[in-house]
Amino acid sequence: MALSELRLLKNINEPGLATIEVYEKLGGYRAMRKALLEMEPEEVLHELEGSGLRGRGGAGFSMGKKASFIPKGRMDKYLCCNADESEPGTFKDRLLMQKNPHLLIEGIVIGAVAADANKAFIYIRGEYELQAEILERAVAEAYDRGYLGDRILGSEHSLSLVVHPGAGAYICGEETGLLDSLEGKRGNPRLKPPFPANQGLYQGPTLINNVETLCNAPLIIEHGADWFKSVGTEKSAGSKVVSVSGDVRRPGNYEIELGMRAGDIVYGLAGGPPEGRRVKCWFPGGSSAPVLTEADLDLGYDFETMAEAGSMLGSGAIIVVDDSMPIVSLALRLAEFYRHESCGKCTPCREGTNWTVKMLERIDYGEATPADLDVMADVQTNIIGNCLCVLGDSMAMPIGSMIEKFRPEFEAHIEEARLRHGGLPLRAHGGRADEAVGSHAA
């Protein structure tokens, strides 16, 4: 079902929304006042937990529950907003930060009240220079009004907020990699436990939430948990901003009710693949999600249905691949990404991503045999669950799903490339079937 009334993207095209005047005129910072002056911190936490809001960054963990893990007592506690948004296909946080930065700041203040945090950081990826500038301006405005700083609005709560830029590393979106990077180190993930809630930034208790997750907090506090739950499914409450990209006619950000039929998002909202093409496969949650096929477009788009189908909702980025794209070219480009972004700390990921790329190249150059597919599938199995973080798994799961679902195409590609031995690899032509030599795809 399409959302009858937009929530997160309600005023998104309002001119000047990024300024504090316009934001307040439209009712902004009311929820923050309510949380600070009319509610006890426990009530704020209770409301967030009761809303069923699940993390919008990829893991889908309950936001309220995560905040409740922060230990009590007087000490420096941190709230880190994860604005590293580097998952291929995802661009929802970019829109929210660029157009509605004060919604995020208000969400951070509310999150900080719930977790009793006194120091907050927004870790924004280095490439988002425009969005970082907009956020810096918005933070300065919020400080001027006394919405950040010591004893906000005369309450007991104090909060500092710093916008911290990264410098181009996918791994810094992983929560512990983010913490190391924020501490001024290389962004290597840490061993867990201890989890960040106990020992995070500067060894202190730390709550880490995605931009979209925090942007939901003001809406929940203002309208209540029941209002939030009034859309969505039982276990996937609320609305979600979905980034649709790839082979569709109208790529973009669309806010939907969780549980909406996936096909209605891909065809209804995003226009479906170009004329004469069909959906070959699609990533339901960024490039780290195992691919699903055309038949799966009938499923409801929510956390549990995607998981039952063997994939995941992830960051809510749908990448649509049409039937003109050879699966080998897609798999190779995907594997190259993870090879580039692997931090190199754990052997299965560092070596596994590298060898997967080499094996896919061999397939493309006509130097492989079908037995290599089994070796490649085996490499994927040996990555999963064997590293400190899930970067390696994020390659292994989609590649594994491609080998499983498109094995005949891989085998045909191997044979064809062998016959063409010495010829140009498909990807030299940009990978597309319509112009590749001796192509086999539709």
Binding site: G168, E183, S245, G252
Partner: protein, 206 residues
């Protein structure tokens, strides 16, 4: 033993072997090194934002790179002196992140996204066209490189030109992009994400 039996000091592919004879560099003394005032003030401001001064490493290196054009040994030494850390520490940070350059690659940056979503809409052709135009025109002081997902798949295929997102691009845009960087103009006016009249071709806003 014949000469061919001599083994190289480093594995092949490690293009910058460590000089094993050299002593490790110590934290440079601010009294012995000249740091431009504005850079020093900026780094000190950055350090004051965090409970631990080392958190300022990335923003400080960004600032030094903006001034020097790259994270040169001189730039690293200046940051190290102000931050009171060793140059090796900063070098370990700079070498981890794609946007920090330990080689003089140029002051202008054209990052063409060729990640999965852009790959689906022929981003490689856009990259090839820009790289070819840049080489044909002898474009100097500019780094043209492929980049992993820039978070603008609705604009695909797209590029970040000196931090400004432009798209959707076509290979035919390449000469104009190269020309405008050469002349110091803003490339493709109206087609940047930050432009007030920016619209996606199918009417959507980004």
């Amino acid at each position: 033993m014949s000469e061919s039996d001599e083994r190289p000091l480093t594995a092949p592919g490690w293009d910058r072997p460590a000089d094993l004879e050299k002593d490790p560099a110590l934290t440079p003394d601010l009294a012995e090194i000249t740091v431009p005032d504005e850079l020093r003030t900026e780094i000190e401001r950055l350090m004051s934002l965090y409970p631990d001064r080392r958190s300022a490493a990335i923003p400080a290196l960004h600032a030094a790179q903006a001034l020097h054009g790259w994270c040169s040994p001189e730039a690293i030494a200046q940051v190290a002196a102000v931050m009171r850390v060793t140059p090796a520490y900063l070098s370990s940070v700079a070498s981890f992140y794609d946007m920090l350059n330990e080689q003089p690659v140029g002051r202008h940056h054209v990052y063409v996204c060729t990640s999965v979503a852009c790959h689906l809409v022929h981003a490689k052709r856009v990259y090839d066209a820009i790289a070819e135009a840049a080489s044909d025109e002898g474009l100097e002081d500019t780094e043209v490189r492929e980049w992993e997902c820039l978070g603008a798949c609705d604009m695909a295929p797209m590029a970040s030109i000196d931090g400004r997102f432009v798209g959707p691009l076509d290979p035919s845009d390449a000469p104009e992009i190269v020309e405008s960087i050469k002349e110091g103009r803003q490339p493709l006016p109206g087609r940047g994400l930050e432009d007030s009249d920016y619209r996606l071709p199918w009417g959507g806003t980004a």
